[in-house]
């Protein structure tokens, strides 16, 4: 007989994850109550409370982490010490990712209250959004590979259904099926790489894997493992030969979901890749191959984006290009470069989230995504267009936006690591990308061809969210110190603090 007190000590979850999971699982009941009792805004209120509580609990966890010995919090699931069983190992990097996820999730939830108002099946929608956020938070906080895989599939499953959410049209269904087949195949590659890791070391715990594989002899199995890992994580994070699902799935999803997918889901894939690569291998093992992938990703995505006529599809290609910039930082192998990666993850979640939300407002009001038919819309929706401009300028890396800061650090770190060619490729791509961002701006403010076009400004809540994000982009562009210090701590925890991490987890 187990008394409830000791049970609550055995089953522990990190607070943000518990909030999101319980919130997501309670939402169907709340939705049912809201429909039966006819209370109008109960679901939205619950969604607001849960996402705000997730943001608050990430902050609480951060305070807890500061006090923890060795700056690593270990939360065990069944009361077993780390090498046995699943656990969560929370370090500065996990908290940083969790904070980015909760922040963007909160803003997107606010936006979707108005945007999704006219749709049916809202209970399912909000449940899936919360579960997707829970999956991403779980990935960020996971302490062993299998816990990561479970939350990976949770994130994946909810995002497949969310992409195909508007199932009465053919586009989302087709995009959703492509996404599912490619991502599930990648999941199988991930499971295969896990089984090889297990065969080599007999464990899946991150700290023990790092302790036993770091600096080991290069066997052929290590190369098999590396390629399986790159395929497994690369499909979700849209590295170029594996990106083909993204330009279909991101535009076809409802706009708040596009913002979440582009802003944070693909970055969570990149986070998984970065963490696992730095845990298992020495940086000079993967440096050149990741650098080559970075150049390929940037160049191909930027060139293809030039050809797009669909505003959301153009933004989706731009997301792939941004992943390419982040890979530059991954390939450097220094704490400075990884700091650039995670700074760009946060900045990109703000900028791309805002770009998709503003584009979503435009699509919501006009009902079209075609750039030719959107000519002159900017004059009728001044606030939304203004925020979209700031987002695009930030994505292009114009000074005084936060995109400039993180790109500068990324390119600088490539030079610091002795790969000047990589920095040159990055700068050239950055210049090329301005071409299509400016094309969107030109289309939006030029004279409308159709004189009878009548469009109103988007609803106040949607405008308020995008304006808030625009203000943050500029504020963090002019005063980046707080985010930089957080990102520095996060990257040091991953790159420099490996032995401390191992020591804190394995006593």
């Amino acid at each position: 007989m187990v008394d409830p007190g000791s049970l609550s000590q055995i089953i522990q979850f990190p607070l943000p994850l518990a909030v999101l999971l319980c919130g997501g699982l309670a939402l169907p009941i709340i939705g049912l109550l809201a429909e039966r009792a006819g209370v109008g805004r109960l679901r939205e209120a619950w969604m607001f409370i849960v996402t705000a509580a997730a943001l608050g609990s990430v902050y609480l966890l951060y305070q807890q982490l500061k006090a923890a010995p060795g700056r690593v919090l270990v939360v065990t699931l069944w009361g077993q010490r780390p090498p046995l069983g699943g656990c969560f190992e929370i370090d500065a990097l996990g908290i940083y990712m969790g904070g980015s996820i909760a922040f963007l999730g909160f803003l997107v939830a606010l936006y979707s209250f108005k945007y999704m108002e006219r749709e049916s099946r809202l209970t399912e929608f909000y449940t899936l959004v919360l579960l997707m956020m829970a999956g991403m938070t779980g990935i960020a906080l996971a302490g062993d590979f299998f816990t990561l895989f479970i939350f990976w599939e949770l994130m994946g499953l909810s995002s497949y259904v969310l992409v195909a959410f508007l199932k009465n049209r053919w586009g989302p269904v087709e995009a959703g099926f492509k996404y599912l087949v490619m991502s599930a195949t990648a999941g199988a590659f991930l499971l295969l790489s896990m089984s090889f890791l297990y065969g080599m070391t007999g464990t899946l715990n991150f700290a023990q894997l790092a302790a036993s594989l770091h600096g080991s002899v290069r066997t052929p199995w290590l190369f098999v493992l590396f390629s399986a890992l790159v395929v497994g994580f690369g499909v979700k994070s849209a590295i170029v030969p594996l990106h083909t699902w993204l330009p279909d799935a991101h535009p076809e999803a409802p706009s708040p979901i596009s913002a979440l997918l582009s802003g944070i889901v693909i970055e969570t894939g990149l986070y998984g890749l970065t963490r696992v690569l730095y845990l298992l291998f020495d940086p000079n093992f993967f440096q050149l191959s990741i650098a080559a992938l970075a150049v390929l990703t940037m160049t191909l995505a930027n060139i293809t984006a030039l050809l797009q006529q669909d505003i959301k599809r153009l933004l989706a290609y731009s997301s792939i290009a941004q992943i390419g910039y982040m890979l530059i930082g991954v390939s450097t192998g220094t704490a400075y470069g990884v700091m650039g990666v995670f700074l760009h993850v946060f900045n990109h979640s703000l900028m791309k989230g805002m770009a998709f939300l503003s584009a979503g407002s435009i699509v919501h009001e006009t009902g079209t995504r075609d750039l030719k038919r959107l000519r002159g819309v900017g004059r009728m929706m001044p606030y939304t267009t203004f925020t979209l401009f700031i987002a695009l300028l930030g994505l292009g890396g114009v000074p005084a936006t936060n995109g400039f800061i993180s790109k500068f650090i990324l390119f600088n770190s490539a030079i610091g690591a002795g790969m000047a060619w990589l920095a040159v490729a990055g700068v050239l791509n950055s210049a090329l990308s301005m071409a299509y961002y400016l094309r969107v701006m030109k289309a939006l403010i030029s004279t409308p061809e159709d004189e009878g076009l009548k469009v109103h400004e988007a609803p106040a809540l949607m405008v308020a969210v995008t304006v808030l994000m625009a203000a943050l982009v500029v504020v963090f562009g002019l005063y980046p110190a707080p985010v930089i210090s957080l990102a520095t701590r996060a990257s040091r925890a991953l790159v420099d603090g490996m032995s401390r991490y191992i020591g804190a987890v394995l006593p």
Partner: protein
């Protein structure tokens, strides 16, 4: 001969069969079966390697395989639901007809 060689070889064969199925087949349900074969190859690898490391059969790998079977089952279930929706719109399960979204 290393006692694990037959297992590793059959895992590799299953993986190649699964990938081949994904590349060659046109029917959506068969694509999902291909994904299932890939997952099962990885599961088989786990079970085979659970003998290797500690000198006894490690229950850790078996618990992982149990969970992984559940996870890929749910993925396939969502995939079948999506194939049904595709059929409603396209009146076919041929994957080559899913080309209306231009690249």
């Amino acid at each position: 001969m290393d006692p694990f060689t037959p297992f590793i070889v059959s895992v590799a064969l299953l993986f190649i069969i699964g990938l081949g199925c994904l590349m060659v087949k046109r029917d959506m349900v068969r694509l999902l079966i291909g994904i299932e074969i890939l997952f099962n190859a990885a599961n088989l690898n786990f079970v085979a390697l659970s003998l290797q490391t500690k000198g006894f059969i490690d229950p850790f790998a078996h618990s992982i395989v149990m969970m992984a079977i559940v996870l890929d089952g749910t993925v396939i279930a969502v995939g079948l639901a999506m194939a049904l929706n595709v059929y409603k719109h396209y009146k076919t399960l041929d994957i080559r007809k899913l080309r209306r979204l231009k690249w």
